[in-house]
Symmetry: C2
Subunit: 348 residues, 2 copies
Amino acid sequence: MDITIAIDAMGGDHGPHVTVPAALRALKEDEQLNIVLVGLEDTIQAELKSHKATTSPRLRIHHASEVVLMDESPQSAMKNKKDSSMRVAINLTKSGEANACVSAGNTGALMATARFVLKTLPGIERPAIASALPSEKGSTYMLDLGANADCTAEQLLQFAVMGAMLVSCVEHKPNPSIGLLNIGSEDIKGNEVVKRTGELLRESHLNFYGNIEGDDIFKGTTDLVVCDGFVGNVALKTTEGLAHMMGKFLTQEFKKNWLSKLMALCAMPVLKAFKKRLDPRRYNGASFLGLRGVVVKSHGGADAFAFYHAIHVAIEEARNGVLRRITEQLEIEHIQKDTTIAPVTAEN
Amino acid sequence: MDITIAIDAMGGDHGPHVTVPAALRALKEDEQLNIVLVGLEDTIQAELKSHKATTSPRLRIHHASEVVLMDESPQSAMKNKKDSSMRVAINLTKSGEANACVSAGNTGALMATARFVLKTLPGIERPAIASALPSEKGSTYMLDLGANADCTAEQLLQFAVMGAMLVSCVEHKPNPSIGLLNIGSEDIKGNEVVKRTGELLRESHLNFYGNIEGDDIFKGTTDLVVCDGFVGNVALKTTEGLAHMMGKFLTQEFKKNWLSKLMALCAMPVLKAFKKRLDPRRYNGASFLGLRGVVVKSHGGADAFAFYHAIHVAIEEARNGVLRRITEQLEIEHIQKDTTIAPVTAEN
């Protein structure tokens, strides 16, 4: 199935130096993929040239005259940069010229703009951010990772629906298992919101496993982990901090003296294989779920390899109709409060 | 200063096999320490004998006829086991015969019993669980780690007072820095409770650093991290899960083939040094804070080395008057709602 992805070519710490080679790689590996590079035409052309590439029917440039800065406030981006590469990429997704968009731009501005331009799906009160994490069994998806600090049980149920459909589309798992992040496995555990969410999930048609605890994320106990954005963000950042500390300590121990340095040399191939296995670049690409369009956020500091992975997530979501799947599942769960708004367009 | 610690000798997965040798080590290393081993006298005597040790003025046995099981409900332990080693150890702390107690028994029963027997300090609405974690700068203390799933801003402020005094006593830091766990550094970030807690902490006399994020825990940005028990428990368990996965992956990579096994052999001394640095046994000993007595909870699966560390935490808390320090600081912060209850007894 032919898919067109709009890429905010200027977003992220490295802009076209990263987004352009990533796009070229994605085009090479997927013959049914078209890409629209959105941003300053001259800059993008120059980057293409440095890779000995040119535009083609499958690779277009869509000029956008402005760039949202990485530390720019969402308000400023929304108000002052209506022709930013970020906003135009989202516009293309809304108009149907693209099936999805990918940006490494600043998270706040991307979420605010995407929400403003695309609006939320019928039945979804708030969009959420989902991503894959490595686990002992492969990968575990988790949401919300920081879009919503305060959530109701109904919103967490909506997150569960959206996350399950995401896993279904990206991992090709038809009925992914869902864990509710809690502080104990018994139904009576947790705060009031989580207890009520457990009730809603047990009553739903989703594949609800039950409560899980923090260590289950990396054990891979369930395919999906549902939590509010406060808890999800803390858990994610905490693991980043621990991984950083462990990496630092390991390096320090290996650099302690000439003997340990020699040992490091001996063990290098294994250490590299270990590092590769946990390589966060392979998990790059957070999905903004609940919008009337597919939006994938790459890490701002992503390199071309990592950004390519974010493009891949967008392709899978678009190709496997994540928006249609979410809408259908919301109907099954009778979550369809906002019925006055037109259904999702056909391209998804 | 002479200190007496009551040890629930029967608690934990291994009972006296662990608690007795840990007690003997603690006595050897601290000449001003007295220990009361609480539990089945014959069993404890037999264990002492196997270590060629005997009771002495510094090492007494206090017989208790019952044992709280590791999976026993708090209700059952409270109702049916009034002569349990756990409860009697807490009783000795209440009566002043001991300055603190240590148990590796089940967390729920220990918290319920300690709360029932000792009651909370004036001004403290709920006790919290605090522990040290390794960090890039040494160690970071964190609370609450799971006693309270729902917390108010006022309770989080109380946790900050208790945690700061704990760090002050155990780490000998006079004015420890406090970070409020949040999902961004700006004051406007977070959920409503956390935003309000930030206000209270800014108005307090504590050394408030500001908001911190999950990765700051292991960076060691602040001496103490304050959060509700839901977030704290999730963060703690998540790090346990990640550490387990990383350890497993590293082992798998080193065991892949004969060459990688050879590399593992070469690198073994460094890998051991690395493992030692993160050894969770060195951080064993969670403090139950906010009670009218010092209670330290050891991990149930602790070995003698780990349990010894939990005893050490109890000694430091008791010797440096953590209860008095908390009470004084609560007064400074004008948190003294419950003034009808008598002040903390002199031994602390």
